[in-house]
């Protein structure tokens, strides 16, 4: 299928069609934030800017039951208690419409970890395989955007099933995958015609507006070489307040915690987001904490994304450049600056 044109006023009817078969997640304004919620007829769909939160929860919920368990007593011998366990998998077919290329691309970072030769996370994979992305290409970058630094761009279709390019009056839809093509079939589309050329111009302008990306090829080694330089890390982390806003808003942060909660005879094993900015993240049962200060922890966050992860995943940076960690940081910690400083600092020390 070639690129097609979707009139703005037809978006809603497409969403309505989609919502009949799939859980259809779209941006919605809630208070001062824009978040992804199930499409509700009549709702306003703010597509003019990046959503406050990424659609991470669509595939990797903030809190997800991995299994439920139940204690069952032996009626003959009440002292004997057995446990029954049921696995829980989220297999609702879903589609996210209106996320950005960086958002969709974030899951590639997950895939390398949860869907590899070494490990396969069934809970993750079930959701992943049931979730499609109709991604909106960016026409103008925000001051916090840096997708081009991490090998992507405002119209990067990797990780998406459909790419929607905003043009005057509507969107040019480009199918990326077969599944995406099927979704497009359900839309009231028109031939793209001359809109296709407009779409290419939008892409080009957006890429241009982002400007030149600095060379980060040195980051991997240079961050490693700074590993023991705590002065450096104390300096760049001074203003960090150790909250989890950056990680929880990050489309690529995939860490989790597991807890059991019980009510009477029933219980549930929960997987919840966890974040490496928290003191408790590396707290060991002995009371020892290998990352006792925020300097250690921020070092891990930056190091992991730009050095340790690329090191074992063919150079892929574990950052999609969405800039939410900068934009929503209460102290405006800027990860771009830290990476550049690291490159510069170790260059100076060499």
């Amino acid at each position: 299928m070639a690129a097609k044109y979707l009139k703005k006023e037809n978006l809603v009817s497409w969403l309505q069609t989609l919502a009949k078969e799939r859980l259809t997640l779209v941006p919605r304004r809630e208070g001062d934030a824009v978040v992804f919620r199930p499409f509700a007829p009549g709702q306003d769909i703010p597509l003019d800017q990046q959503a406050t939160t990424p659609p991470k929860a669509a595939v990797f919920p903030q809190c997800e039951p991995l299994l439920a368990f139940k204690y069952a007593k032996d009626p003959e011998n009440p002292g004997k208690v057995g446990v029954q366990v049921k696995e829980k998998l989220g297999d609702t077919p879903s589609v996210v419409v209106g996320c950005r290329p960086c958002d969709a691309r974030g899951f590639l970072t997950f895939d390398r970890v949860y869907d590899s030769d070494r490990a396969s996370d069934l809970n993750y994979l079930t959701r992943r395989r049931n979730t499609l992305f109709a991604t909106l290409a960016c026409d103008e970058p925000a001051s916090t955007c840096f997708c081009n630094w991490v090998g992507s761009g405002p119209a990067d279709a990797e990780g998406s099933d459909i790419l929607m390019v905003p043009v005057e009056g509507g969107f040019v839809l480009e199918p990326v995958t077969e599944a995406g093509e099927k979704l497009m079939e359900q839309a009231p589309l028109e031939d793209a015609g001359d809109k296709a050329a407009l779409a290419e111009a939008v892409k080009e302008n957006a890429a241009k507006a982002l400007g030149e990306a600095p060379d980060l090829s040195q980051a991997r080694e240079k961050l490693l070489s700074l590993f023991d330089n705590m002065d450096f890390w104390e300096g760049v982390s001074a203003k960090c307040i150790s909250c989890g806003a950056c990680t929880y808003l990050c489309p690529t942060c995939y860490c989790f915690n597991i807890t059991d909660e019980q009510s009477g005879a029933e219980g549930v094993r929960l997987r919840t987001w966890d974040n490496c900015m928290s003191y408790l993240f590396t707290m060991e049962a002995s009371g020892h904490n290998p990352r006792p200060t925020k300097a250690h922890r921020l070092k891990n966050r930056v190091g992991h994304k730009f050095s340790y992860y690329p090191d074992i995943h063919d150079g892929h940076i574990a950052c999609c450049g969405c800039g939410r960690c900068i934009k929503s940081c209460p102290s405006s910690v800027d990860i771009r600056q830290i990476v550049l400083q690291a490159i510069a600092a170790s260059a100076a020390s060499e």
């Binding site: 049921k86 009510s263 009477g264 029933e266 929960l270 009371g287």
Partner: protein, 659 residues
């Protein structure tokens, strides 16, 4: 965890309105309950044996008994589980009698409620941990605060029992109120004749250290190990040198000093000895009236003193006394009789208090035992006694009965007739309260043998008429107004808490009632104990008492101290606060709120941390609800234990159910 649950029938007390078998069955379904049964009387010998057997048979980790109030039988069952080899704190109780079966008749509701209460107990037990009492050494010295008859008795009994005693008395002599009395009821025997020898015993006892003219400044520490700072107020006389010869008092030119011992009906010299039998018999100077101290003139006493004991520049001095127990015997003070303006007390010279009358009656008093009117020195003919002045009167916030006024009024009526055979006494009373041995007989004697006229009713007002006073009141038995012409009016003023009693209570960390009387630990069963371990009560500081009761309490308090000190080490209640040092940020909020000073700051690898002094902690848990990060937890009432109970009653459903 394996929990055993025992639902008690308590005969028909519980089983009458609760389906106990159903309760046992329902609670038996809880995942941690390995054994659940009903039992006829859980507290009986076979009931307890059944619990012990079940613990052994089913390898139980803890036990829940649902029966009566834990305030009754919790200690019983703790001993039971201990006998079976469990820690005594691996036990919980559900109160399904006082809180269920006795207050509702609906069997279905009661049964459900009993199930809930037993389930709360099970939920809490799953969070219980074994607790072990700690031991600590005891300093076998005791401090008695107050040298009235109760304090004297307590001090002597303790000292005779072999304890070192520190007796602290606020005034310059011991003896208290009793020393001021002329005679005592119901025997009319001489007060100083019976008290005097005891006072001398105190002075001579090798085990007693007496600080007269001294007050307690601060109290630190805890049972077994208190540190009390005692402030010795300046007397301006070196008591180690003073022999009590009295030469100085004879020659002192300043004779207008307030005579507190004589209840201000006379004056005394600036340097004085309270009364001839004073213990210690030492002179002290009232600096307000001393000409040398106020004007730097005179100095007669210094010149006269054969032992050169006078020290005009003497300062207050503080000594620290380490003791293991404290007996508070601070007595009472008299109600301020001037508050009844309609009686004219304080304005009319011949309207006096009962204690002033005692001093008039006393042979060693300012009138040498001759009854004379303070105004003109004439012998009175009609003497009117008004009872309940500052007792049983809500309008002056003294709704309680002072207990002994009826008796001393009868005694004073008898003495008046003895001293002045021609006199006539009248007694206005509300009720006669004479419940002691020989007491009622005594009041009857006053009426029948000594002709005292008892008029049941309140006095409305007293006003002067010529050189006499008209006492107007009601005779509620006759239903008439009465007016009596009196030469002298004696107000039977009630007792109130000693001035500064509440202040001392706060130092001792004991509670007091709204009138300032100290609270005993249990009204009936722990009458001389307080809620602060190691602090005991004797005499009127706990409530108005007559002499026999005060003496009895003095001895009782002493026996409690002797009992306490019979062990070399004490066991502390392990239900105390405990600090998780990893969570503590050293903010000190717990230290600030602890009512007992039981938390101190310590240094842990350079960080400030809270530390609980387990023997001081009383287990209230204020610290636990103060600490925001939950770093300090009251053992056996931890956040998790209470949360388990709350969750057992209303837990939000899990996001995902098993089905």
């Amino acid at each position: 965890m394996k929990i055993g649950v025992f639902i008690c029938h308590c005969g028909s007390n519980i089983a009458g309105t609760v389906d106990v078998a159903k309760v046992a069955e329902e609670v038996g379904k809880l995942p941690d309950v390995a054994y659940s049964t009903d039992t006829m009387y859980a507290c009986s010998e076979p009931g307890q044996e059944g619990i012990i057997q079940a613990i052994k048979d089913h390898n139980l980790d803890g036990v829940v008994v649902a029966s009566c109030t834990p305030r009754m039988h919790e200690p019983t069952f703790r001993r039971t589980v201990e006998r079976a080899g469990l820690n005594r704190y691996m036990f919980e109780m559900a109160n399904i009698r006082e809180h269920v079966s006795w207050i509702g008749k609906d069997k279905e509701s009661n049964t459900q409620k009993a199930v809930d209460l037993a389930s709360i107990a099970v939920a809490k037990l799953t969070q219980d941990r074994p607790l072990i009492a700690k031991k600590f050494g005891v300093n076998k010295r005791v401090m008695v605060i107050g040298g009235g008859v109760a304090g004297i008795q307590a001090a002597l009994d303790c000292a005779d029992g072999g304890l070192e005693v520190v007796l602290v008395e606020k005034t310059a002599t011991i003896g208290g109120k009793m020393a001021k009395l002329d005679k005592t009821f119901p025997t009319v025997d001489c007060s100083s004749c019976i008290l005097g020898p005891k006072m001398v015993d105190v002075a001579q006892h090798p085990n007693i250290t007496l600080y007269a003219n001294a007050e307690v400044d601060s109290v630190k520490g805890y049972v077994g190990n208190f540190e009390v700072a005692v402030k010795k107020k300046a007397t301006y006389v070196d008591w180690t040198a003073c022999t009590g010869c009295g030469l100085c008092t004879e020659k002192c030119p300043s004779k207008k000093a307030t005579d507190y011992f004589n209840e201000k009906i006379a004056t005394t010299t600036a340097i004085s000895i309270a009364f001839p039998q004073a213990i210690p018999k030492k002179a002290s100077i009232d600096p307000e009236y001393c000409i040398k101290i106020t004007k730097d003139k005179c100095g007669v006493c210094e010149k006269l003193c054969p032992t050169k004991a006078i020290r005009y520049d003497m300062q207050d001095e503080t000594v620290i006394e380490p003791v293991g127990a404290i007996i508070a015997a601070t007595g009472y003070d008299l109600f301020d009789y001037t508050r009844y303006g309609e009686y004219g007390g304080g304005r009319y010279p011949d309207v006096i208090t009962s204690l002033q009358y005692e001093r008039i009656l006393s042979a060693s008093g300012p009138m040498a035992g001759h009854i004379k009117r303070p105004s003109d020195g004439k012998e009175p003919k009609n003497v009117v006694f008004v009872q309940c002045v500052g007792s049983r009167d809500k309008s002056v916030d003294r709704p309680y009965c002072s207990g002994f006024c009826c008796m001393y009024t009868a005694k004073q009526a008898i003495q008046t007739k003895d001293h002045l055979p021609d006199s006539q006494t009248y007694v206005f009373y509300m009720d006669i309260r004479a419940p002691g041995k020989m007491y009622d007989e005594f009041t009857r004697r006053a009426m029948e043998e000594y002709g005292a006229r008892y008029i049941r009713g309140r006095v409305a007002m007293i006003y002067p008429k010529g050189d006499k006073y008209i006492v107007r009141g009601a005779d509620t038995l006759a239903g008439t107004q009465v007016e009596v012409e009196a030469d002298l009016v004696v107000l039977a003023v009630g007792a109130e808490a000693a001035k500064g009693a509440s202040n001392l209570a706060e130092k001792l960390r004991i509670s007091y009632d709204k009138y300032g009387f100290y609270m005993e630990s249990h009204v009936k069963l722990r009458p001389v104990e307080t809620n602060t371990a190691g602090v005991f009560l004797a005499g009127s500081c706990q409530g108005p008492k007559d002499i026999p009761s005060s003496v009895a309490q003095g001895s009782a308090a002493a026996s409690k101290v002797l009992g306490l000190f019979s062990k070399d080490e004490l066991e502390s209640d392990p239900q105390v606060a405990s600090v998780d040092i990893k969570r503590c940020v050293g903010c000190g909020k717990c230290i600030e709120t602890c009512p007992f000073g039981a938390i101190e700051e310590t240094d842990f690898r350079g960080e400030p941390k809270a530390n609980v002094i387990e023997t001081v902690c009383q287990g209230c848990g204020v610290c636990t609800s103060t600490c925001p990060q939950g770093a300090i937890q009251l053992q056996h009432f931890t956040d998790n234990q209470i949360l388990a109970e709350v969750n057992a009653l209303c837990q939000q459903p899990l996001v995902t159910s098993f089905e």
